[in-house]
């Protein structure tokens, strides 16, 4: 059901990963993803695996939570693996078995390689979302983008950040509302579960229209409330929370530099 969808999946814990500045975490996540995708061989990928697994363990988030995220993307994972498995070039591994005759060593290699890449990708992004609150994420993104204001995009950065903040705030409210409306229409005999594709899409109208109308109403009320709280487009706005890099953040950067050198070296050597 809709209720099971949680937006943002922060997992409260007092690990050092939680304490790293969210800006550093975002930048490093992007860097690690780049490293994973530029890794050309298993050695480099194993290094990343080691690094990421260590981070997972340090995050003090139960491992099953990571597995849970992996499950969600499992179909994609399997699909990619199979595609790669069957469309590899080279000599077949099982030339005598009908379907499996398409499998080649290169195919198998690429299949495992791609699967591992995707898996690491999910783990890296999960570490970020499990150890950083959605608010810190939004905040960090706003601050990371703030150099754009020198390009005359000041308003754009602020607007984007405000939009993200409001989205974070309202997504749970709207999910709950959607659920209520669904139940109300079901109570009027609406059939949401059966029928073909067309019927099902049609059946969504009684839910989507009230949801849309209520969102518009909420938006206009919110705009009014924001005006009452002296909001004028972020002009001269200050912040309650300041972000300063700490020792831990620098340490984290240093560790990362070593790791990335190692990965790059492995890529060159092998």
């Amino acid at each position: 059901m809709l209720k099971d969808i949680t937006f943002g999946q922060y997992f409260e814990s007092a690990s050092i990963i939680h304490k790293i500045d969210p800006r550093i975490k975002i930048v490093l996540m992007i860097a690690i993803i780049v490293l994973i995708f530029t890794s050309g061989n298993f050695f480099a990928l194993f290094l990343s695996t080691f690094f990421i697994i260590t981070t997972l363990l340090l995050s003090k988030v139960p491992f099953k939570m990571y597995i849970k995220n992996m499950k969600a993307i499992l179909p994609v994972l399997i699909f990619t693996a199979i595609i790669n498995l069957f469309y590899g070039e080279g000599a077949s591994l099982f030339p005598d078995i009908p379907v499996l005759s398409h499998i080649t060593f290169e195919g198998l290699y690429r299949s495992v390689f791609m699967a591992l890449r995707i898996l690491l990708l999910i783990f890296v992004s999960s570490v970020l979302t499990y150890t950083t609150t959605p608010n810190d994420l939004t905040d960090a993104i706003e601050r990371l983008l703030s150099p754009l204001k020198y390009l005359g995009l000041k308003n754009a950065v602020h607007t984007l950040a405000m939009m993200m903040t409001i989205a974070l705030r309202f997504i749970p409210t709207l999910i709950e509302e959607a659920e209520k409306i669904m139940n109300a229409q079901k109570a009027r005999g609406a059939d949401l579960e059966s029928g073909g594709l067309v019927e099902r899409v049609k059946a969504l109208i009684p839910i989507l229209i009230p949801l849309l109308i209520s969102s518009v109403r909420r938006a206009s009320e919110l705009a009014e409330a924001m005006e009452c709280r002296c909001y004028n487009g972020g002009e001269g706005k200050t912040r309650l929370k300041q972000m300063h890099l700490k020792k831990l953040d620098y340490l984290c950067l240093i560790v990362f530099v070593f790791y990335s050198f190692a990965v790059i070296l492995t890529n060159i050597i092998f």
Binding site: D4, K180, I181, P206
Partner: protein, 287 residues
């Protein structure tokens, strides 16, 4: 014969959802045909979860709901039929309006039951008379109506299915006094016209005293009391213990008693109160 029986109903939400754990455990009660049952309890006491079981929106983790002696989940494919027999009006029902005209919105429920166009027309018109929606409003957009009118149209949308039992979750929430009186009148009129059974969740003990025959008190997912209005409201201390209270007029009478006046404290409406005072006055005259 009880029209509705709830037997050992338990509903537990599985774990880590971020929502309030509004569970229900081992609740049993029966509703007689034609009576008005009031449900009172705190927000989060399990009231809303409970009523969503009555028409099969939620499936019990354990226990049964019998409508006319038959388990509503006997044939899960037929659950939509149950929903037209046991209507449920949610809180702020006006937020579920979606059709282009008032007519088609009211007709949405009956249409889902597969009724013919003639029958739809008949039902919509009939229900509009009860809820006080003027015929010329039927071709208007429901979104052009005032707040109170929207609510009446939304309630009509459930009533048009002609449910034998109709359940309201705080039907008067957010309305002004006139609007509140109006909704209460509609509920009474519907009950009278179709000999329907009514279940109402409300926070207003004063309204409950005027409306209900029986009260069901929920607390932390458990059924705390289930009795006649008199028997429930005569246990003021127990109600206060779980954060509820008796009607204001009853509190005045509790105070009177504490001041040493020999009154019957079990008055729950203004009319009863005035009668009781008249009785005392007459009694004193005789003495």
């Amino acid at each position: 014969m009880s029209i509705l029986q709830v037997k050992n109903l338990t509903h537990s939400y599985n774990g880590n959802t971020p929502f309030v754990n509004d569970a229900v455990s081992n609740v049993s009660f029966a509703v007689e045909k034609g009576e008005i049952l009031g449900i009172i309890g705190h927000t989060g006491s399990g009231k809303s979860t409970l009523v969503q079981h009555l028409n099969g929106l939620l499936k019990p983790t354990d226990g049964q709901i019998l409508f006319e002696n038959e388990d509503i989940w006997k044939n899960p494919k037929e659950i939509r039929k149950i929903r037209s027999k046991i209507g449920l009006v949610f809180q702020y029902p006006e937020y579920q309006l979606f059709e282009e005209t008032v007519f088609s919105d009211i007709a949405f429920g009956p249409k889902n039951m597969g009724l013919s166009d003639d029958e739809l027309d008949k039902r919509v018109k009939e229900i509009c008379e009860i809820v006080g929606v003027k015929p010329e409003y039927l071709q208007k957009s429901p979104f052009d109506l005032s707040g109170g009118e929207k609510r009446r149209v939304a309630i009509a949308g459930v009533m048009a299915m002609r449910p034998e039992i109709i359940v309201f979750d705080e039907p008067t929430a957010g309305l002004d006094p006139k609007g509140r009186d109006n909704i209460i009148k509609i509920i009474k009129d519907y009950r009278k016209a179709f000999n329907a059974t009514v279940i109402i969740i409300s926070h207003s003990m004063e309204d409950m005293a005027l409306l209900a025959d029986k009260l069901l008190v929920m607390n932390k997912g458990n059924l705390e009391m289930f009795d006649t209005v008199d028997n429930v409201f005569s246990q003021g201390d127990k109600l206060r213990e779980i954060g509820l209270n008796v009607p204001i007029v009853t509190r005045v009478f509790n105070k009177l008693k504490a001041l040493g006046v020999d009154v019957n404290e079990n008055v729950f409406t203004v009319t009863d109160a005035v009668n009781e005072l008249k009785r005392i006055k007459a009694g004193d005259g005789n003495a």
